[in-house]
């Protein structure tokens, strides 16, 4: 330590740390030895083991908190062992209550606490307690008492009255009385008087009704008065009302309906009902949430009750609930009725503690007496006009009389007749009275046209009272009923016949009959005639009858008396059904009528056919059942659809996929293509189908198109899109980039079937190439660049992809393969190209691409590339060829690239790993490859024209940007 200090230079005086420390230590030692223990508590200092004073903070005791910083005893919490030997007996500590009390409690126990003295203790709490303590003390002091043992506190109650009570008593209050002012009571008295007076005024009938309640009231009041007078006999007439006894199991003050008050009422009802029925104690929670839950099974706390948790198997209905509601209503009402009076008095008496009756209230219940019913009233309505149905029927018909010439008068008479027929005799009397002086109405008083009037009246009545028109009466009624009356009944306007009618009316009755009918209702009579010929319900005469009635009513319109006698025994539904039948039959007849060309025989034929149908809906149950079954027999309708099982499902079921190798479901492709752009029809047709179509038709067609399209730039995107949309089958990639030891057979099979698709693709590709080349050419011309002359060979190739021009392909090869196999690089390059072209440096990309393609490491590629091409572009490659090409490509991949750069190696080594990747990843990759392929096609088109390519890419990038 000294050696250390020698190296330093000290300024000022050093703090004597060492000495201080040691002295403290000594001090602490001294303390621990017990020197200071004799000091009183407030002089003792708390120190730590180093002897320093321990500061606890101002609020926690300063320097002297606790007893040596412990729990308040010297021993503290240190564990102790209990030892007790024969010689040295352990002291059994006698613990008393005092040992466990705090200081203030002790003070309270001793009676040293500050409290209201008994004199001023209004409510007597302190006094009571004090008295109790006093009693306790007395008890404790072992005074001999009558009751041996400790006397319960409840028995010995102090008879101390608080000052408040004493004051009240001085003021005249006595125990058990409510505290009310004399004013209110006098008011109450006055009111009672008034009410009595009112009651005495009420009528004699009402008195017995109210007398009972009044009596009760009087009794009650008397009791009150009495008790008020001598309350010593009945000291507690102010009962303590527990307004809401607590009956639930919730915590105090907890309101389960706090946030859903609408359930409170229902809950109350239910519990009330439950009590009434002595059952039905359902759990609150579940009862609230949903109606029916299977007993025994709850669900997790985190799940909410759902529809499916309802107990569908439980007894379907909640009978109790409905019962309760029914029982509840009248009961409540009756209580309301009976208790009306007493309750009122209760309230007036000011029973609610702490509330006073308002001396004047704004709210006044207005009560109205029920209307008085006259004594002679009988709850039956009588029509003063006599009913003349029965009598009229038997009346002999008045003679038929010719109508008056004056059409106005005729109309008037008929109108009156109709009205009278409808409204009864009273109308006739009325109008007679009214129009006494009017000469027009002379017919009512037996004037000139009384006969006509009476005839009309009779007719109308007949019509109205037609209950059951019989066949024999049919002719009569129809012939007698004129069109006008019917029309009037229907509210129709009389047709214009002011000029014609009088003439015809003058003539013979038969003629009149004819004209009238022809006027308005041509059809019905014809139908009626027809009906006689052919009856649709021949087999059921009653029904036929009804049908005829129906027909008549139908064509009469208006007065359709549905409850004509014959149908009264039928039920409503049956009648309705019959009505439908009738409608159908009538329609059929009408149709038959309209098709006049058919002969009568044919008619009957039709009707007989119809009859089969119409009888079906009749009353007979058996028949209807048969009819119902008829569609049922037909019902198991069989339909067949195409359904595509997933390949894996087929595999799992050990079946061959029926759609194996076929293109993806048509609708998807269609939607994809259609939503994006328009394709020529030939393409649509050939797109998913045979290669013959695509090769034979599409190619020449597109060539012709091409000639049109040469200068149409806007057509180009379309083609571009197509290229992108060509789906590359995943298996193809698998075939190329995976070692095929395991699924050789499978993939080959797949490839075999996939041929058509590939061919289609190839056709597309060639087309694209053609289009692209052409476009490039035109673009080049526009930009004034030189157009390479090797378009014809490419066209050639496109026309006939079978002839693979290997040398030519070789030419193309370099760049293609480099880009295709080194997809990363190619992508990179493309990005570069795009960037550059965006920047406007058109030809920079050109250089970079050239550099890449000139890379010597790709020298051995050409042949391989040719094979690759055969894989992609060859339209009709046989599977064997395919296989071979793949193998070759594999070989090349491993042989020719072995000496290429490391990225190449990486790529191939990764191919294996890729195979194990998830399909999604594979898809992603394939999409990337799609891009690369896309590029490849373009590259192939113009191998030497990288310049143009860059041009095009610039264009493309622009388009991309636009998109």
């Amino acid at each position: 330590m000294d050696s250390d200090q020698e190296d330093f230079v000290f300024h000022g005086t050093p703090i004597e740390r060492e000495e201080d420390h040691s002295s403290r230590k000594k001090k602490a030692l001294a303390e621990s030895s017990g020197n200071l223990r004799s000091l009183p508590a407030w002089k003792q200092e708390v120190r730590d083991e180093e002897g320093r004073r321990r500061l606890h903070g101002a609020f926690t005791g300063g320097f002297s908190a606790g007893y040596y910083n412990t729990v308040g005893s010297k021993e503290g919490w240190t564990p102790q062992s209990f030892t007790s030997s024969r010689k040295n007996r352990a002291e059994v500590k006698q613990q008393s209550l005092v040992n466990f009390l705090d200081e203030d409690e002790k003070a309270e126990l001793e009676g040293r606490s500050l409290a209201a003295s008994s004199k001023f203790d209004t409510f007597g709490f302190t006094a009571a307690e004090f008295a109790r303590k006093q009693a306790e003390k007395e008890n404790r002091s072992s005074r001999p008492s009558a009751i041996p043992g400790p006397v319960p506190d409840e028995i010995i109650l102090p008879a101390a009255e608080s000052i408040g009570i004493q004051l009240l008593k001085k003021m005249g209050w006595r125990h058990g009385h409510s505290i009310k002012d004399s004013h209110s009571s006098s008011l109450y008295e006055a009111r009672r008087e008034a009410r009595r007076a009112f009651l005495s005024f009420t009528s004699d009938e009402a008195k017995p009704m109210l007398s009972t309640s009044m009596l009760a009231e009087n009794n009650f009041e008397d009791v009150l008065d009495k008790s008020a007078e001598d309350d010593d006999k009945s000291p507690k007439i102010t009962p303590v009302y527990m307004l809401k006894p607590k009956q639930d199991l919730h915590g105090l003050g907890y309101d389960p309906y706090k946030y859903a008050p609408e359930f409170r009422e229902s809950k109350r009802l239910r519990t009330a009902g439950g009590r009434a029925h002595g059952q039905r104690a359902r759990d609150n929670l579940f009862g609230l949430n949903s109606g029916n839950i299977a007993p025994g099974f709850g669900i997790g706390a985190l799940e909410e009750l759902d529809v499916e948790d309802e107990d569908v198997y439980g007894s379907g209905y909640d009978f109790e609930e409905t019962l309760i509601e029914e029982a509840e209503e009248p009961a409540k009402l009756s209580i309301e009725l009976h208790n009306n009076r007493p309750r009122l008095t209760d309230k007036e008496h000011g029973i609610l503690a702490g509330f006073q009756l308002a001396s004047n209230s704004d709210y006044q219940l207005e009560r109205f007496e029920p209307p008085r019913i006259p004594k002679e009233y009988k709850p039956i309505h009588k029509f003063s006009g006599p009913l003349e149905i029965g009598s009229r029927l038997s009346d002999p018909p008045p003679l038929e009389v010719a109508p008056p010439e004056d059409s106005n008068l005729k109309v008037l008479i008929e109108g009156v007749a109709t009205l009278v027929a409808r409204c009864g005799k009273i109308f006739e009397d009325l109008s007679r009275e009214k129009n006494q002086s009017n000469p027009l109405y002379s017919f009512l008083n037996g004037g000139k046209f009384y006969d006509y009037y009476s005839r009309k009246l009779w007719e109308e009545r007949q019509k109205r009272n037609q209950t059951r028109p019989l066949l024999d009466r049919d002719d009569l009624s129809v012939s007698k009923m004129t069109a006008e009356t019917r029309g009037r009944i229907l509210g129709e306007r009389p047709l214009e016949r002011s000029s014609v009618a009088p003439i015809s009316f003058d003539t013979h009755a038969g003629v009149k009959f004819h004209t009238n009918l022809v006027d308005t209702f041509t059809k019905p009579i014809v139908f009626n005639e027809l009906l006689k010929v052919s009856k649709p319900f021949k087999d059921d005469p009653a029904k036929q009858e009804r049908f005829e009635q129906f027909l008549k009513e139908k064509y009469q319109g208006g007065l359709r008396s549905t409850d004509s006698g014959g149908t009264s025994y039928m039920s409503e539904s049956v009648r309705a059904r019959e009505r439908l039948d009738f409608e159908a039959a009538a329609e059929a007849i009408e149709k038959g009528q309209l098709a006049k060309s058919s002969t009568l025989n044919k008619h009957s034929m039709e009707f007989s056919v119809g009859a089969m149908q119409f009888t079906s809906g009749g009353i007979e149950d058996a028949k209807s059942v048969q009819v119902d079954e008829l569609p049922g027999k037909i019902l198991p309708k069989r339909e067949e659809f195409q359904w595509r099982p997933s390949p894996i499902l087929c595999k799992r079921f050990d079946l061959i996929d029926p759609y194996m190798g076929k293109p993806a479901p048509a609708p998807r492709i269609r939607s994809k293509l259609d939503s994006h752009f328009f394709i020529p029809d030939s393409f649509k047709a050939s797109g998913t189908e045979e290669k013959v179509a695509s090769r034979g038709d599409a190619l020449p067609m597109t060539q012709s198109q091409m000639s049109e399209n040469t200068n149409l730039v806007e057509k180009e995107p379309e083609v571009q899109m197509e290229i992108e949309n060509v789906e590359r089958p995943v298996d193809l990639y698998k075939a190329i980039f995976s070692d095929d030891s395991e699924d050789e057979g499978e993939t080959s099979a797949v490839n075999k079937v996939e041929n058509p698709e590939k061919k289609v693709e190839a056709a597309n590709a060639t087309l694209n190439r053609l289009m692209a080349g052409d476009f490039l050419e035109s673009l080049g011309k526009e930009l004034g660049l030189e157009v390479p002359p090797d378009l014809p060979p490419s066209l050639d190739k496109a026309r006939d992809p079978l002839h693979k021009e290997v040398p030519h392909v070789n030419d193309i090869g370099n760049s293609t393969v480099s880009e295709f196999t080194k997809e990363d690089k190619s992508l990179e390059a493309r990005e570069l190209v795009q960037n550059l072209s965006i920047d406007g440096k058109k030809y920079a990309s050109n250089d970079s691409l050239h550099k890449r393609s000139d890379d010597p490491s790709f020298g051995s590629v050409p042949q391989h590339d040719g094979k690759m091409r055969s894989l992609y572009d060859q339209s009709d490659s046989s599977p064997s060829e395919d296989e071979r090409s793949r193998k070759v490509s594999k070989r090349h991949q491993y042989s020719s690239y072995s000496d290429s750069d490391s990225s190449e190696q990486r790529h191939h080594s990764s191919s294996k790993r890729r195979k194990s990747h998830s399909s999604r990843e594979r898809e992603k990759r394939s999409s990337r490859r799609k891009h690369s392929k896309h590029r490849k096609h373009r590259d192939k088109d113009s191998p030497e024209r990288s310049r143009h390519r860059s041009e095009r890419e610039r264009d493309e990038s622009k388009r991309d940007k636009r998109r």
Binding site: D309, V312, K633, W643, S646, F653
Partner: protein, 299 residues
């Protein structure tokens, strides 16, 4: 075969389920049976000795259907928790849970090789799940139904589903065809005849309908019982001579296959008979009911 040959004598009552038993199924050889119910458990029983063997608990809601592989090693179950559980029978552990149904799953079946589970759901779809791979995605979704699919049957090459939309749809995997037979009534349950030539479809108009599978013809209708609102099973007897099914009033009905007459009907349960299953070889039948019991019936 007369009524005397029908299993009408109650041999054992299997009690243990709390609440409704929703399905009871014999295993493939008929020595054991499985049941499932509202108490979210699946139970394995020996119905002939009346012994409860094992309980499988994992479902979160009621279990609606259960099926066992032919080799008795695996179970598949489904229910209200929208999942299909794939169980190991001996350990009682869930091997896989297939999630994907948007709603409750009504029925579930294994295919012949126990490699695929096909489930029918309230979400109007049939879903096929692969038991071999670790994928829990369905390998096939059939959603041509227009209402809840109540029942599913599998043959070697076909998936047949019956739906509340009134159709019984047969999906032929080998041909890639879907054949829809519209019965016009909500189909509650379908079951195959033992020769697999016919389908018995239980409709909600209290009628069982027998369909010829090749032609789609309605061969016979069986009435007499009540089936209007519950999912209830129906099946043919092991000899295909009779049709049997439960009723909502707790009765069991036997019909003659050909002339559709009710040969026998008797009260078996106190409540709705949810499920019937006939022994593959013997004249033995188990019925399950809402009253929480499974009863074993023999001659």
């Amino acid at each position: 075969m007369s009524a005397s040959d029908l299993p009408r004598k109650e041999v054992t009552v299997l009690k243990g389920h709390e609440g409704a038993v929703l399905a009871a199924r014999f295993n493939s050889d008929g020595n054991y049976c499985l049941s499932c119910g509202k108490d979210r458990t699946i139970r394995l029983w020996n119905p002939h000795r009346g012994i409860h063997i094992k309980t499988y608990k994992s479902h979160g809601r009621e279990v609606r259907d259960v099926h066992c592989t032919p080799d008795n090693s695996k179970l598949v179950s489904c229910g209200g928790d929208r999942q299909v559980f794939y169980w190991d029978v001996s350990t009682g552990r869930v091997i896989r849970k297939f999630r994907g149904h948007d709603s409750e799953v009504n029925a579930v079946k294994f295919n012949e090789y126990s490699s695929v589970v096909v489930s029918a759901g309230y979400d109007q779809s049939l879903r096929a799940w692969d038991c071999r791979s670790h994928s829990t995605e369905p390998i096939q979704i059939v959603d041509t139904f227009s209402d809840s699919v109540m029942s599913v049957c599998l043959t070697k090459t076909e998936i047949i589903g019956g739906s509340v939309d009134g159709t019984v749809r047969t999906f032929d995997i080998r041909l890639g065809r879907e054949i829809a037979d519209d019965l016009g009534q909500p189909v509650n349950c379908i079951s195959l005849s033992n020769d697999a030539n016919c389908i018995l479809a239980s409709c909600l108009d209290s009628t069982l309908r027998l369909l010829d599978r090749s032609t789609g013809e309605l061969l016979q209708e069986y009435r007499g019982h009540t089936c209007k609102s519950f999912k209830m099973d129906c099946c043919l007897t092991n000899t295909d001579a009779h049709v049997t099914g439960g009723s909502e009033d707790g009765f069991i009905y036997f019909w003659d296959l050909v002339d559709a007459t009710v040969i026998s009907s008797f009260r078996a349960h106190s409540s709705v008979v949810t499920s019937v299953s006939y022994h593959p070889k013997d004249n033995c039948m188990i019925t399950a009911s809402v009253d929480g019991t499974i009863r074993v019936w023999k001659i």
